[in-house]
Amino acid sequence: MCLSIPSQVVELHPETQSVTVDTLGVKRTVSCHLMEEPLAVGDYVLIHIGFVMNKIDADSAAESLALYKEIVEKMEAADA
């Protein structure tokens, strides 16, 4: 039960303090009662038992992914 999953905000519902998120094709509405900062369409968030827990820092994620890409490229160059 402790796995929370990355999703993307696709619709805002300020009247009910909730947002609709897309989790790889599955859409559902979740609460943002735990979020102080406002969310925007396109934001990446972590969802846990029906709540947005936080925003995922897209820059930091992209940075990690770039680092991994570099690691793999180096490895493949060494193998070649």
């Binding site: 402790c2 009662h33 735990l34 038992i49 990690s64």
Partner: protein
């Protein structure tokens, strides 16, 4: 930088080539280790990743995993489940709980078995669903059997806040929220514990911040790396732990920077502090009673506390684990799950 796609947040952190490369870096570095590293992954989520992606097979023999007490379902002692079952047997009570909980056996059976006998027990996926059930059943009392670590407590706080705000008075709570740091202390208090590094449960830290593990680092001189749940995350965290060990450091590191900050989600922490206070003691399956290791409602909200309201009807007898149960030793890394003589015989936990 090209725009990040949601899919990359999954695939990028599961890439088998990255996992393989990190594994070979770990292997090289681990050859320099003077003593084996016994990493406790506190949280069931990491255990799941390690099993599902076969990470164990990729690692050298001098790195071992010890599965920690971080699954809220697994650490629930039988008497708490017996209490839930007792609540569900009171006429006009609807017992509501998160789906995973209903198959875990108490001393008289699981909640699923009580439901089959006619008790009104409803598994839900999100705590806020309990509001609707309470609204739709004004002549019944709905009891939310609340479970979970720091990750799940703020959601219970919001449920309570909404019930108060909307004047939904037929919603009560049976609180079983537990805390990670006291459980780590219980593991480390045993002088024979073999644990000498931790992978920190990241979703706990999404809420609390990575800060909650600083005392672990300071008190036990062990590295703690807060890690994401994908296989690449876990491998990178192990690499960091091995690096620390080889260089003779023990520090708090945050591998999961894309989702965890040092301070965490302060709005969520504030809600928890508004409604909850520390419970003097809570018994954990396998570890026994641990002081200050769980939460309870603040006195201002005692009118919502099912444990108080139905106190006389709740069994308080502590039900010990099977005599031969080795959970405590397993959690301290002194025994392996397969060493347990009653596994699958006297003990048949069925979380799924």
């Amino acid at each position: 930088m090209p725009e990040l796609q949601l899919k990359q947040l999954y695939d990028g952190f599961r890439d088998p080539r990255t996992v393989a490369e990190l594994a070979s870096q770990i292997k090289q570095l681990a050859a320099k280790l003077e003593e084996p590293v016994n990493v406790m992954e506190v949280c069931g989520g990491h255990t799941h990743t390690i099993m599902k992606y076969g990470l164990l097979q990729l690692l050298p023999d001098n790195i071992e995993f010890i599965h920690g007490p971080g699954c809220p379902v697994c650490i629930m002692p039988k008497e708490r489940i017996d209490q839930a079952a007792a609540l569900a047997q009171i006429p006009d009570v609807i017992l509501v709980t998160l789906g995973d909980m209903i198959r875990v056996p108490g001393s008289e059976g699981s909640l699923a078995q009580f439901r089959a006998k006619g008790c009104d027990i409803r598994p839900i996926y999100m705590p806020l669903d309990a509001l609707k059930i309470a609204q739709e059943n004004p002549d019944k009392t709905v009891v939310y059997f609340a479970i979970g670590f720091e990750t799940s407590t703020p959601m219970t706080a919001v449920l309570l806040e909404q019930a108060e705000k909307l004047g939904i008075n037929n919603l009560l709570f049976h609180i079983n929220h537990v805390l990670v740091p006291p459980a780590i202390d219980a593991v480390m208090a045993d002088p024979e514990t073999r644990v000498n590094a931790f992978i920190g449960p990241s979703h706990v830290s999404v809420i609390t911040g990575s800060q909650i593990y600083q005392p672990t680092v300071d008190n036990y001189h062990t590295p703690v790396v807060v890690s994401g749940f994908e296989p690449v995350d876990v491998m990178q965290s192990i690499l960091s732990i091995v690096k620390q060990k080889v260089e003779g450091r023990c520090e708090l590191e945050n591998q999961y920077e894309r989702a965890v900050s040092y301070k965490g989600n302060e709005a969520a922490q504030q809600k928890v502090n508004q409604y909850f206070t520390v419970r003097p003691s809570f018994r954990w399956r396998g570890l026994g009673p641990i002081p200050n290791s769980a939460l309870m409602l603040k006195p201002e909200y005692r009118h919502r506390d099912a444990e108080l309201k139905y106190g006389e009807r709740l069994p308080v007898k502590e039900i010990d684990d099977h005599k031969a149960c080795q959970c405590g030793d397993i959690l301290r890394g002194k025994a392996k799950p397969q060493d347990c003589k009653v596994f699958g015989r006297g003990c048949t936990p069925k979380p799924r």
